[in-house]
């Protein structure tokens, strides 16, 4: 584990992602202007009061950006949390108890995997226009199966180890074994999964927002890029479109680097499946 921390990929990744997150944290405490207030002069050039200018509806772009960081990060955590949480629970239950629980859950997972989730999202988003959180929940639910399969595989493998057998012989209950022996061994896997899901969620959010499937009132990178793109023929690209693009890129590349550097630590079989 210590080796990883020294790897350049890891360090660079953390820096990149950290920079973006820092802005988000900053947003918790200070916003130059109310990002939702559309009272300023539309399409104004950047100035000292409006570091990145004003968009077409009269909102300060810089404030928008800060809020966007927040929203994106939260969305990422939300989706990854649901996906990984469900994946872990389903995977452990399936892997440990087997039998009909396993059969039912895995069949469900097979169907979910077969579903092209993005299309489902597209469909739902285009027709139902749900909120970001709802869509995120749906994304989480649609994407948990792959993680669940990996967790199930590992759980089943761990269950057969001698030390688990010993614990059972000493009178351990199933819950004890899951909690004390299996889960701690899965933790690195789950953490890694979380990072992967987070990345996927951020990408998905940006894409969906850009395609106009999310509510415009929820600020995000994709949304800002979309809005900015409508005016790309004006010379606004460097202060309106570019910042969200750059931040999005930084965040994603940062997370990708971290994931890549962590891969070396994990079991070869497992990480192969995850990469897809």
């Amino acid at each position: 584990m210590k080796r990883v921390l020294r790897e350049p990929f890891f360090k660079v990744g953390v820096v990149l992602f950290g920079a973006v997150s820092a802005l988000g944290i900053l947003a918790l405490f200070w916003l130059p202007h109310d990002p939702y207030a559309f009272v300023f002069e539309p399409l104004a050039r950047p100035s000292l009061t409006h570091l990145l200018g004003v968009n077409d509806a009269g909102m300060d772009i810089f404030s928008e950006l800060l809020v966007a960081v927040q929203n994106t990060l939260m969305f990422g955590v939300w989706v990854a949390g649901i996906s990984v949480g469900l994946g872990a629970v389903v995977g452990m239950a399936s892997g440990y108890w087997g039998g009909w629980i396993d059969a039912v859950l895995m069949r469900l997972c097979d169907i979910l995997i077969a579903l092209p989730s993005v299309l489902v999202l597209l469909l739902v988003a285009s027709i139902a226009r749900p909120s970001g959180m709802e869509l995120g929940a749906l994304l989480g639910v649609l994407s948990f199966p792959i993680g669940a399969k990996v967790v199930r595989f590992q759980t089943a493998h761990l269950k057969e180890t001698l030390y688990v057998e010993v614990a059972l012989q000493m009178g351990a209950s199933g819950w004890y074994v899951l909690r004390r022996h299996i889960f701690p061994a899965l933790a690195p896997l789950i953490g890694f999964s979380f990072a992967g899901r987070f990345r996927f969620a951020v990408m998905a959010q940006a894409t969906l927002a850009f395609l106009g499937l999310l509510s415009p009132s929820e600020k995000s990178f994709g949304m800002m890029i979309r809005q900015g793109m409508q005016y790309y023929y004006l010379d606004i690209w460097w202060h309106w479109i570019f910042p969200p693009v750059v931040l999005l890129g930084m965040a994603l590349v940062g997370v990708t680097f971290v994931i890549f550097s962590l891969e070396g630590v994990l079991d070869g079989r497992v990480k192969g499946v995850l990469r897809g």
């Binding site: 001698l162 030390y163 057998e165 010993v166 614990a167 012989q169 000493m170 009178g171």
Partner: protein
């Protein structure tokens, strides 16, 4: 011939009285050789002296002791002297200190000789040459002294002879010749009382054996059964203490120490007298309980009385060592196959006993382990377990048996956590058992993870884990196969020591017959799922 009825003997000291014999009720048969065995302080010599009606002045006796129907202890000293001349003779323990250094052997013989004997005859009967009678004790060798003492005992032609450690210090050849002599004496109709702590002698020569411990008669049994079918835990433990020529197993001690028993007198002002280390105050309950490996509560509260069985008696609530787990006519096959892994297999594991199950790979050994641990259920037959039973297991590959993320401490503590051991004592217990397994000297071993420890250390961690929660049984499945020979020896020794200390029953599974013979009390050979031998494998037997 001799009858004890509720006989007790005490020695009165200044502040307390020592209990030498207590509530002895038994009978010495005429014309038989009776061996009385026991450790020091058991009361053997006191019994001998009581028989001889020759007790020190501070001795008080209770109950009745009759020799040939007469209670000689109550008689006048003149009568008692007659008694000693006519009815009962004594060969003392020790050497030339029992002989008058100034008189010649012949002279001393003639003092007690019955009319029909001659010096020459007596000396020859004990294997000495006639000219010995001219010599003084100083001119005799150790062996010769013993024989002279025996001759003196035989000289009075008394029908009953008490022999106090007659073969102590003698070489094998002399022992054998004395044994022959004893047999011929019995053939002549004499009654011999053989006081000894040589079990093999008792086993070979005597008809009946009495087992004494701290003044209590714990068992009376036919001597042929001494090693095989003793019923009292003490007798069984004694039989394992004794080194035997034809058994490979090393001798083991009995845990704890024998102490003298005393009672404080009511009128003694003993408040400020410190009790010396080697005595303890009389407590209720079985005398052997503190050193016994299978006591139950009752043993400490109520003294078990001598109960008769077929041809013997013993003072214990149990018959022999209690079986912990017994497999009765068990057959087993794995769920999806029909091939029988075990066929009609019976084996029982008793407390305080090490059973080695020996067989080749695939003979079904691990299956037996799992059946005994309750992890598998038999297809036929049944598994009988004493409930509630705690089983600790030790496996062949310690790296696999330990969670790689658990420190040694956590692994050892796990059974305690699972068994809801009181939290405040948990830490102490973990360290205690770790130390007992040889893990404590280097303080921080307990905090290390498995990948940093050697295989031998890891195996001892596994042992500590198995022992942590006071198990009744340890099942060790090839515990040393994966270790270097020197490490193997160390681990095995640790196991043995622990077994003696705690009295757990141990099932040792191994393919190494030599190891089994060094360790086990009982060896069971398994071939193709069948039990082909069970016993303690004397030398000369072995090899399939």
């Amino acid at each position: 011939m001799v009858e004890f009825v509720d006989f007790s003997l005490f020695y009165e000291e200044e502040h307390h009285r020592l209990i030498a014999l207590e509530n002895l009720t038994c009978r010495l048969e005429k014309g038989k050789i009776t061996a009385i065995i026991g450790e020091s302080g058991a009361g053997k010599t006191s019994l001998a002296k009581a028989l001889m009606a020759h007790l020190p002045s501070n001795a008080t006796a209770q109950g009745s002791l009759k020799v040939d129907g007469v209670s000689w202890l109550d008689q006048e000293s003149a009568q008692q002297r007659l008694f000693r001349q006519r009815h009962i003779a004594y060969m003392p323990q020790g050497g030339s200190e029992n002989l008058n250094p100034l008189l010649s052997v012949g002279a001393q013989l003639r003092e007690v000789m019955a009319p029909r004997f001659t010096c020459k005859g007596l000396l020859e009967s004990v294997g000495l040459k006639e000219e010995v009678q001219e010599r003084t004790p100083r001119e005799l060798s150790g062996g010769e002294v013993s024989r002279v003492l025996l001759a003196l005992a035989l000289a009075s032609d008394a029908p009953c002879v008490v022999l106090d450690e007659p073969t102590a210090g003698l070489d094998e050849t002399s022992k054998r010749s004395l044994e022959l002599l004893f047999n011929s004496l019995r053939a002549q109709g004499k009654t011999l009382v053989l006081i000894t702590h040589d079990l093999e002698l008792a086993h070979r020569v005597s008809d009946v054996t009495w087992v004494l411990y701290l003044g209590q008669l714990l068992e009376v049994l036919p001597s042929v059964e001494l090693f095989e079918r003793a019923l009292h835990p003490y007798t069984i433990a004694l039989s394992r203490v004794f080194p035997r020529m034809d058994r490979a197993k090393d001798i083991v001690k009995i845990k704890g120490e024998a102490t003298f028993r005393l009672v404080h007198r009511h009128d003694a002002s003993h408040a400020h007298t410190s009790t010396p280390e080697h005595v303890h105050v009389e407590a209720k309950g079985c005398v052997y309980a503190p050193r016994c490996t299978q006591p139950v509560r009752r043993c400490f509260e109520e003294k078990p009385l001598l109960k008769g069985t077929q041809n013997g008696a013993h003072a214990c609530y149990f018959e022999g060592m209690r079986p912990l787990i017994a497999l009765e006519s068990v057959s087993f096959a794995y769920p999806r196959s029909d091939a029988l892994v075990l066929q009609n297999f019976s084996l029982s594991l008793k407390r305080g006993e090490i059973v080695a199950l020996v067989g080749d790979s695939g003979s079904g050994k691990s299956t037996v382990a799992k059946l005994m641990a309750g992890m598998l259920a038999p297809k036929e037959g049944r598994v009988v377990m004493e409930e509630p039973l705690r089983v600790g297991m030790v496996h062949q590959h310690p790296m696999q048996a330990l969670n790689p993320r658990f420190s040694a401490y956590e692994s050892i503590a796990e059974p305690l956590v699972l068994g809801r051991f009181p939290k405040e004592r948990l830490d102490a217990r973990v360290r205690e058992v770790a130390l007992a397994c040889g893990l404590g000297e280097d303080g921080h071993v307990l905090d290390l993870l498995p990948h940093k420890l050697s295989l031998g250390t890891l195996q001892r961690v596994c042992m500590a884990r198995a022992l942590a929660n006071y198990p009744d049984v340890i099942i060790a499945d090839e515990p040393t196969s994966a270790l270097d020979p020197s490490v193997q020896a160390r681990v095995m020794k640790t196991l043995l020591d622990l077994q003696v200390e705690t009295g757990v029953g141990v099932l040792l599974i191994t393919h190494n017959l030599a190891l089994a013979r060094k360790i086990a009390d009982i060896i069971a050979l398994l071939k193709n799922g069948r039990l082909v031998y069970e016993g303690d494998m004397p030398t000369g037997v072995g090899g399939l």
